[in-house]
């Protein structure tokens, strides 16, 4: 068979439009402090770190098949790591953030060897148990206020800036940058050769091994990156809330249940899904904020309906119907160009 010339393309019209839209969103986010109030900025900070956590959990469960219910372990370690670095070791906060992330990564390595001995449901429960053990350990440490927790010393906060407005600006931009950077990281990863391996593992783990993909290495990388992202979010949470308790730092509801909800609703196994899911989650939360227990009941009901009726979430419905990819991770072959 004679094959004419061909070309492998990485972007489509939809993806170019998507990229333009994405740039517009980034510009809008940069301009927010100029026109919005403190409440909006605080909301966007929270949106940013939920987006980062959702992207991380999507890599774990949506691609590597690692259904973790224990990401709060690394969020919590990030929280306490940041407290230790700043309040106890007197490290400047903006230096303490990257140091905390590195420390969380170092702790994550041995936990990986424990967790990777488990598969499927056992892995899920194992990661949860690990997080609970860490939570209980921190309730025992008197230096951190045990179960009642501790506040971030005021000098740490003042160290960022004496000026409250500047402080809030720094926190806002750091958080938003981390949200955007996480999306970008996941996109570039999926687009690369390693992304081909990750996507293959998502679609058929057995077959991925048969074509030469080292699944264990890829999974370990995902596990560690997800831990680093969670640790980073943990450090930011302390800066934002200025106070930490073991229950809040290692909260399974905040850092696992909500994040799993976001990814399931938005669409597991795509870059777009967690973005859509984060938006849906925060819209629902603001709509249902006044209804107390009904808030969680409604979230749960929506999650169940989506899982049954649209297993690939909101983005799955849109993406498969219109074949749209805002993030062009696919390769398209154009044949017979001459």
């Amino acid at each position: 068979m004679i094959i004419g010339s061909y070309r492998v393309e990485r972007s489509t019209r939809a993806s170019r439009a998507g990229f333009a839209a994405m740039l517009a969103v980034i510009v809008a986010l940069i301009s927010v402090p100029a026109w919005a109030g403190r409440a909006e900025m605080r909301l966007l900070i929270e949106v940013s770190y939920y987006l980062a956590l959702a992207q991380a959990w999507n890599l774990l469960a949506g691609y590597a098949g690692l259904v973790s219910v224990g990401q709060q372990a690394f969020v919590g370690l990030g929280c306490y790591g940041f407290i230790i670095a700043t309040a106890f070791l007197q490290i400047p906060p903006l230096v303490a953030i990257p140091l905390t992330v590195v420390a969380v990564g170092l702790i994550a390595i041995p936990t990986a060897f424990l967790a990777f001995r488990l598969r499927g449901a056992h892995f899920a429960i194992g990661t949860w148990v690990l997080a609970e053990v860490l939570r209980l350990i921190f309730t025992l440490v008197q230096a951190f206020g045990a179960g009642t927790g501790m506040s971030l010393p005021i000098h740490v906060v003042l160290d960022i800036s004496e000026n409250r407005v500047i402080r809030e600006l720094i926190l806002y931009y750091v958080s938003v940058a981390i949200g955007i950077a996480t999306v970008l990281l996941v996109f570039l990863w999926l687009r690369s050769r390693e992304g081909l391996a990750l996507t293959a593992i998502r679609d058929s783990e057995a077959a991925s091994g048969s074509v030469g993909i080292n699944q264990q290495r890829t999974k370990l990388t995902v596990y560690l990156i997800a831990a680093l992202i969670a640790g980073l979010v943990g450090a930011l949470v302390v800066l934002e809330k200025l106070r930490i308790t073991p229950d809040a730092a290692f909260s399974v509801t905040d850092w696992s249940a909500n994040v799993i909800f976001i990814v399931i609703i938005g669409g597991i196994g795509s870059v777009e899904g967690p973005i859509v899911g984060t938006l849906v989650f925060f819209v629902l939360r603001s709509l249902l904020a006044d209804y107390g227990a009904w808030y969680l009941i409604t979230l749960g009901a929506i999650a169940i309906i989506v899982m049954l009726k649209a297993p690939r979430g909101v983005w799955g419905l849109i993406g498969s119907r219109y074949d749209v990819h805002l993030f062009p991770v696919q390769r398209r072959v154009r044949l017979n160009l001459d």
Binding site: I3, R193, L196, A197, T199, A207, V333
Partner: protein, 241 residues
């Protein structure tokens, strides 16, 4: 001829079931071996043991004298074992091209763009070029089987394990498949082929092995094996055409 693959007293149990029971055989370089047997005889389990998808309960597997019994499947692929799955296992949400590209790139350790030519050529041979941008899970069963073969070929194997790729093909397609496989043999690729479509198998293989209940029933020159009374009984009158 040098021995390529040797399976030595290999067993695999699932609970109380001995799916593969103390099997031994060798495959020479360039040889094509057919494996026959009723459903549940342990044929696919044997493939999974050779490709590394599962580990044996007992016994050794060697490739070019090197023991590979406990190597993970990706390393065996890089050593030259390529396989297709009986129930196709496409990377469903990747395109057909990406399926083959992943195989070409990770089996060889080469960068993506260095594999493009090979992928296009293989997709052309497999008759999938016009569908190369389709998500693999939109393919028909027959196309998925072709993709299984294409993906296995993209790993550029020295030993190719084919698990029932001829089922459901028309007469013409069977001939095409026979030509593809015989051309591969011409390039020195060794083949182990599990197949129920006996006449296709007989058109390619040098030797036939019949398995029942995880054990050998018969082994040897294909037509002699098919004439064997025990084999005829197991196949209940299904004869070689």
């Amino acid at each position: 001829m040098a021995t390529l693959l040797s399976v030595e007293r290999v067993s695999k149990s699932f609970g109380a079931v001995r799916a593969v029971d103390n099997l031994s055989f060798e495959l020479d370089q360039g040889e094509a071996l057919g494996i026959l047997g009723p459903n549940g005889a342990g044929k696919s389990t044997l493939f999974n043991l050779i490709s590394g998808d599962i580990r044996p309960s007992a016994g050794l597997i060697r490739l070019r004298q090197r023991e590979i019994t406990h190597l993970p499947s990706y390393e065996r692929c890089r050593l030259g074992i390529g396989r297709s799955y009986q129930i196709p296992q496409p990377f469903g949400r990747m395109t057909v091209f990406e399926n083959v590209l992943a195989a070409a790139s990770f089996s060889s350790g080469r960068g993506e763009s260095a594999c493009y030519d090979l992928c296009i050529e293989i997709l052309g041979r497999a008759g999938l070029l016009d569908k190369c941008n389709r998500a693999a899970d939109t393919l028909t069963l027959l196309e998925r089987k072709r993709l299984e073969l294409a993906r296995a070929l993209a790993t550029q194997p020295t030993l190719l394990l084919l698990d029932e790729i001829a089922g459901g093909l028309t007469e013409g397609e069977c001939h095409e498949l026979i030509e593809v496989i015989n051309a591969l043999r011409g390039t020195g690729v060794s083949i182990v082929w599990i197949e129920h479509v006996v006449h296709v198998l007989l058109a390619v293989v040098d030797r036939l092995l019949v398995i029942n209940f995880g054990k050998f029933l018969a082994e040897g020159e294909p037509h002699a094996v098919m004439a064997n009374a025990a084999v005829q009984e197991v196949y209940m009158g299904i004869e070689a055409e």
